[in-house]
Symmetry: C2
Subunit: 427 residues, 2 copies
């Protein structure tokens, strides 16, 4: 049974619907588009994430007896509205960028074509999911880039809403994080999960040696021991004494990491533990990761800054009516204006395969060599176009992201603030 | 049936548990404490929120067949661990600050006394909920203060994870927001919901007049009309022509709000709509709200900055083992150190009722006149101490918050960065 998602919705969607049902405009053919007016904080690209979760949520977007009673209890008692909602299931079309695709200002990442009634209802849920997941994926992609080939682990569940944590683990894996601490992300999406121990485990024991012994006995010598509860150097010595030189890894979770990592590596090598990995995890973000590039670090665990979007916790996407009965429409007063009309979008590439522009147009785009159409069908007549499992959909999005990021020009990978790596241009 | 929450958990809680079950330390009596080492960004106080949601989630924190299969599938195959989890229900004690209470660096906002096994399992879920909800409540409280007595409406659902949106609506209401756009928050927590229309509703119609007519016909003249789709002045004239001078409100969602609000008020008054409210909603945060204090504004709708914690999207709380078999314990290496031992806490007040200090101590606190004990029992032997409904619990927390914030010294309400309004001192 799909989870009930219909009330994860702003009340104004329903008051608009009630008024539109009353005057007959609810049936008008509409096109709504999701796009970001700009990228946050001088970011150079965004990563679209959440499309798969939105498609998962769609079948459960129904108004059963419980939902209708809840609406009545909140004063939404218009019987025409409630009757309409009781029969509602989405029957329109949805197109969009493939999940994992890059986006730029104005990229039409999701397009809903339906009656006004059906299209307006999806606004809140679509934006909640895409804004959150894309914010996390966009931050995580910068961390993966900063880490170069070193593995990144998502471990931010404790720093965000418990359900957002699952979505964040999914978004991080989508852009290349190898694993997550979150068990529910493992269950729902097949994200590989990992974890060993916290300071509490060492403090639970009479001494560090007993804690390490217990961990090795249960998890094997391939485990990662947390060595900074008391004294780091002594912790490393004890770890190697207990586990032997085959110890899988040590973890450093505090202090000046570049210095500590270098000293830890040297000490491990001197103890013969030359293959023991050094994992660091203390308040990392993309800048700290980049700052550790010269340090002998074998993996990064990232928490807070990942699940909060590293300064940009929401992606700034909006859901706008752009066409009504075939006529382009757009807000026209001061500020926040949009371009009317349903958009097409291609990514333009140079002969060497490097992306050069995001072409977005409400007129048809004349295809050039090296253009890649960015918009794919997701839902037709209310039916999902693809019946992949959530885990399969995530793998597909992960592969897609890995492919398309390769085409970005080199300046896109700079962490400093700058302009979008691709300019959004008309056809 | 309670929602299954057990896998909203970091894997390392289970690997620690497995190792502790193997060496017998899992049964040791432990005390874990939740506290924030510091307030974010020069904030002067924090507001504890989420306790009620944590207590709601506790009965569902069980490992049924589905959860155990999911763990096996992720390689957690230790039979001793799985057997223990199958029988697990939390049987310990939980104390904490009342929800809605203010907190300061080191305030012991939640204390879990249980075996290591039972206590360690709750870490992730407790921190996810308290860190998220307290971040939102702490930001929202500043907005309520900046708005003085003017009403605030939470409308950020579209800018955060769809479930975080419900929790954010709850947290905002807790600290004094009057209403939310989020229908699910209405259903689960009795938060009053509100909403009228978006630009899409105007664009759907052939002209603004038709849109206003439709909205008035269905929602009555007491509704709020969005007047900035085309030209604000013309929008206001049309609104009053259609609704008459009894129009409930107009909403401004773009442009330079102080100027626009003043012009709108003047125009409304000149049209005889002297009681029509002016509601503003465009990218507000506590600073923008304060900047509108001199403008004739009757209400604020707050979205993005509220649900993202206005620059501090997580509360920085940690969950630390502080006592094991009656012995205080604490991490001792460089950085991130804690004070061992279970804490008591009182808030000290001057004779005029103004709070003067947060007294936190691992020794008993000798009570003075004007001390208020901050720690209340929440769970005893695994049973909730209070069986209030979620909506009742929220009302209680809201009342508590309104009471205790009155005692803060005046400088606490400054929006500028500063030191915590109360110093945390030992007994």
């Amino acid at each position: 049974m799909p989870t009930a998602t219909a009330l994860l919705t702003d009340r104004y969607e329903l008051t608009m619907l009630a008024a539109a049902l009353a005057d007959g405009t609810a049936a008008r053919d509409c096109v709504f588009e999701v796009f970001a007016r700009r990228l946050p904080h001088g970011r150079r690209y965004g990563v679209l994430a959440g499309t798969g979760r939105l498609l998962e949520a769609l079948p459960g977007f129904r108004f059963g007896e419980d939902e209708l009673s809840a609406l009545r209890a909140q004063g939404l008692t218009d019987e025409r509205l409630l009757d309409w909602l009781a029969d509602f299931r989405f029957s329109g079309d949805i197109d969009g960028y493939a999940e994992g695709e890059l986006f730029f200002p104005g990229s039409p990442v999701l397009t809903v074509r339906a009656s006004f009634a059906e299209g307006v209802l999806l606004e809140t849920l679509a934006l909640s999911i895409l804004n959150h997941d894309s914010a996390i994926a966009s931050a995580a992609a910068r961390m993966v880039a900063a880490a170069c080939e070193r593995p990144c682990i998502e471990m931010g569940s404790r720093r965000t809403h418990e359900e957002a944590a699952v979505a964040a683990a999914r978004a991080a894996h989508l852009v290349g994080f190898g694993a997550s601490s979150n068990l529910e992300a493992g269950r729902r999406y097949g994200v590989p999960t990992t974890g060993t121990s916290a300071h509490a485990f060492t403090l639970l024991h009479d001494d560090e040696r007993a804690a390490f012994r217990a961990q090795i006995d249960t998890l094997g010598v391939g485990t990662t021991l947390l060595v900074d509860t008391y004294d780091v150097e002594q912790g490393i010595r004890t770890a190697v004494e207990v586990a032997g030189p085959e110890l899988g890894g040590i973890r450093l979770d505090s202090g000046d990491l570049p210095t500590l990592a270098a000293r830890a590596r040297q000490l491990l090598d001197s103890l013969g533990a030359t293959r023991t990995r050094v994992i660091v995890t203390s308040d990392l973000d993309e800048y700290a990761i980049a700052g550790l590039m010269a340090a002998p670090v074998d993996g990064y665990g990232v928490g807070t800054s990942l699940v909060t979007g590293s300064g940009a916790p929401t992606a700034g996407m909006v859901y706008k009516l752009v066409e009504r009965d075939g006529v382009p429409v757009a807000k026209r007063s001061e500020g926040k204006n949009s371009v009317g009309g349903r958009k097409s979008a291609v990514r333009r590439h140079a002969a060497d395969g490097t992306a050069t522009a995001e072409v977005v147009s409400s007129s048809p785009i004349l295809p050039s060599d090296g253009d890649r159409d960015l918009v794919v069908p997701l839902v037709r007549d209310g039916e999902l176009c693809d019946h992949a499992s959530p885990a399969q959909a995530l793998r597909t999005a992960r592969d897609h992201h890995a492919r398309v990021r390769e085409a970005l020009p080199a300046e896109a990978w700079a962490l400093s603030r700058g302009e979008p790596a691709l300019e959004t241009v008309p056809a």
